[in-house]
Symmetry: C3
Subunit: 402 residues, 3 copies
């Protein structure tokens, strides 16, 4: 192109183009359009921004650290163990005070087990036998306590017995006390110290107010009136979770302590506080023994004067507490704000589209407005016939498409 | 302004403005535009909404609780330990049945260690010496077992020896059995009970069907045909993770059991089921002893008749299983739906922009259409010359900018 | 409709409608519009796409597995315990080398506790008494060590004493050494092996380079110059976290080791590396004993020649290290790209709206342009009067609404 053409092109870059509008002085459609606009605005401001905080960027990757500490003692008096006092080192497993801790509430003790051969428990189906050939030597008992030696041991006069096994003998008997031995664990207390951090916003907080004096923290208990005292009575926790402590203590179970931190970081840090909720996590509806309750076996190992290992096997039933911390922080950020505003603007366009439909097709004078809005152009050789001017003389059969 | 002016302004608020359109009866561009529209619609409906479920709000902050329980016994016969039966209390560390558990498959036992002085192991470089001055008293052996006493102990006739140290003596010898001692752990089973909760939607589920009867759960094993039976054979887990159990049992390793819950909460809760996958988490490619395998040392403490502490040190090799639960729930929500629809509408605008380009610049009659679409106005004193009417008489040098 | 009408309707589907534009040759508004366009483009490209990577889909659900291994020995010489060497099996709790591990740095040892009756510690308020009636038989001492027997034990000549309790006797004395017993834990090292996986993108990586040779990993220590050597000296960790090891070792505390993986998966996998940061997680500001520091009690159980249980109670103070892994991976994805581009396009519309305001209301010739942009149509019976043609003859009182 010539120099004049380049200059004209450059100048034309700074022309301002704006759409041409037709003002339809039709009050009905005008009012309808304003109503649609106001609804969209109300949705945008009310729901998206105020309720859902659409102007905020969120951080859901919460980093959390939990320290727990139990306190309490229980006294038991049984024929097996005699008078015994159980303290924290006895019933909390593991003892480190992390976010998951177990409080033993019931147990089956099998003391003085030694490596030897003895009859397997009669309650294990795979160990039932009538003669020696039923017990294949060296084969482990399915869901059992040892490996078979090849002999079937029967009580005098019985036809059925159990296989002899090599195991820690004597094996465990299968009957736990109906009433939980450490039922007074209901009165124990747990002090939960939780420190959280939202990495995206570099915000940290603890659930214990640093200003609390020592005597307050030593004697307070968590309740609705004392939400900033994270010392919980175990019985209360189970009750708030909808359970019954004594029932749960017999079979064992798992309780979840959820600490939720929903913080609006546009407000003061002091308004960012945890919310505690409690729920039962294990399957409470089923009655099957294999899937209800919570128990595990552990052993204490000793050595006798001859240097032979022996152990006390303990099948511990109890309540495991899982402290689960989750949370979400929100802080104003320009990008989600703009995305939500833009969606609102696009919605306005949809509102205009809907009102156009009404104006052009639904009201009485729609033909007239269609003629005004759309200008048909057709490119052909006879220019004089090609351009209908804008007037009211549109014939009904000049249909325009969408 | 006067009262009339205010009234006119108020009435004008309810005028309805709509853009004026030019209908170009050019079938080529019209068809192109319809094709573009249909593609955008197909992308929006097919990809964004159906495949990616763009109409759903998602929750990725899954809360999970895992209970595990191993079953199985292993029989070993070694010169050191004699005939021995290993059961759950012996080989599972820790015993509580949490989401991370370790099954011991190989071990080095150093029994009867007492606090005393003895020569350090010859395999530790920092402890090698030729004379007493090589061993600085009170200095801890780097990567060693104790602190030096200042003496260099050499075998008779040797020139090189190792420093004498104060440690738990005798120190550990560095040779584990090539063949894993508890290799029959391959047949052990683990029962994984997982309970999850999506806090945003307040939806909970377990991976065990409550309707299962006890006998089914006692005898079933997880497989493709039995996806609702979360009892896994350890050998199968390692095999599905791409490993070889006996190889892995010798050096130890870490296996991840991923339980994925991808739930569409617009469907029935019964369609929300976990998906299990298995992978090896530790570094399997390197041959370096420092970074492959998994082992740790622990001790069992005893006290002899004189009241002196002694211990058995166990270097345990084995497979640690990390049960990792993650998931995502989706549920219909109006906000992401509107955001995605709005993006689709804005895309339509981009499609119209593209077709405008074709109409105004690429086709044969483009000059004509440019003249029809753009109406130049220039504000000056002579109004009669300022407004070209809409007709076909655009001169080619009246270029318009974009 | 007749067949002709249907045919006309079908053909009209392929008409192409495009908005009519008015080109205002006003350089000021034109330049303003270009400036607005360029700003929006700069914001979109510079901020949304380059800085915030708005074209990427992100995965924040990181799956992580951590193996830790401590090394180091400490020598102590006290009147209680004599000369003693502490190694890994003695001071690391639990021993399994998981992501949370505790290193004991200070302790109170109460050896040879047996189940018996003895006076409660005088530092427990609930146990103070003057006569037997102050001690209610069977009642547990609040925050104490046992249950009261009903007797008040007073030293000869004293008026105040403490209740006799059934507990593990003798009870613990409340005084820990001012100087941490295992203060040389400052020189211990911990090797942290971390393996991560982003499930959405199926990307895995470890923090140890597989190509490292064994001797490098055995002798290196983490520092700014050696970022790929994850062997940390405990004293350095505490120092980088802003703490003093000896102070912290006395009371105990919790240190967080954050491993952050921020990976741009559009780049090479070798550019995805972890970033380590250290912080103190427990409450350091408060001086209250109940909420500062970190300690727990555990016991070692023994059995004497008569078969009577006895134990050594250890109140362990130390530093708990929580390895917390978090991260975010980004990878190009068409949907967030389109959403952000669409928001940008909608913003352009807002820019045009703003420039329209300037053109129509703020500049000198605004009346003229308003007349050109808006064409009033009013539907009435007299068609000849209903359609003002496009010319410059707009009267000022023909106000148009927004």
């Amino acid at each position: 192109m010539g120099q004049v053409a380049w200059k004209a092109l450059f100048l034309s870059l700074f022309d301002y183009k704006t759409e041409k509008y037709v003002i339809a002085k039709n009050k009905k459609v005008g009012v309808l359009y304003r109503v649609v606009q106001l609804s969209i605005l109300a949705y945008l401001v009310g729901w998206v921004f105020v309720v859902k905080k659409g102007y905020q960027d969120t951080d859901t990757s919460l980093q959390s650290s939990v320290i727990t500490k139990l306190k309490g003692v229980a006294f038991t008096n049984t024929s097996e163990l005699g008078e015994r006092l159980w303290d924290v080192a006895d019933y909390v497993i593991p003892p480190q005070g992390e976010s998951v801790f177990f409080v033993m509430t019931n147990l089956i003790v099998t003391p003085n087990q030694r490596q030897a051969t003895c009859p397997e428990s009669a309650s294990i189906p795979d160990a039932l036998c009538e003669e020696d050939t039923d017990c294949l030597e060296g084969k482990a008992v399915v869901a059992g306590n040892g490996v078979k030696t090849g002999r079937c041991l029967k009580d005098r006069g019985s036809t059925r017995g159990t296989c002899e096994i090599l195991a820690w003998c004597p094996v465990e008997k299968r009957s736990k006390p109906k009433k939980p031995l450490l039922g007074s664990a209901e009165n124990f207390t747990v002090y939960i110290k939780n420190s959280i951090r939202f990495p995206k916003f570099k915000f940290s907080k603890m659930n214990v107010l640093a200003t609390d004096n020592e005597s307050y923290l030593k004697s307070c208990r968590y309740s609705q009136e004392h939400p900033y005292c994270p010392i919980f009575v175990l019985g209360n926790i189970v009750r708030w979770a909808g359970g019954n402590f004594q029932e749960m203590a017999s079979e064992g179970g798992v309780i979840g302590i959820q600490i939720e931190w929903n913080c609006d970081l546009d407000k003061a840090p002091s308004e960012c506080n945890p919310h505690y909720s409690f729920s039962r996590l294990d399957n409470k509806s089923a009655e099957t023994s294999i899937s209800s309750g919570y128990n595990f076996r552990f052993a204490k190992y000793y050595r006798d004067a001859e240097g032979v290992d022996y152990r006390t096997l303990i099948k511990a039933y109890g309540i495991r507490f899982d402290v689960m911390v989750n949370g979400k922080a929100g802080k104003f950020n320009i990008i989600p704000t703009i995305i939500n505003i833009s969606s609102g603007l696009a919605l306005m366009g949809a509102g205009a589209f809907f009102c156009d439909l009404v104006l052009l097709y639904l009201i009485k004078k729609s033909n007239f407005y269609r003629g005004k809005k759309y200008e048909e152009v057709k490119s052909n050789s006879r220019k004089s016939l090609s351009s209908p001017t804008l007037n009211g003389n549109q014939s009904p059969d000049q249909l325009d498409g969408l």
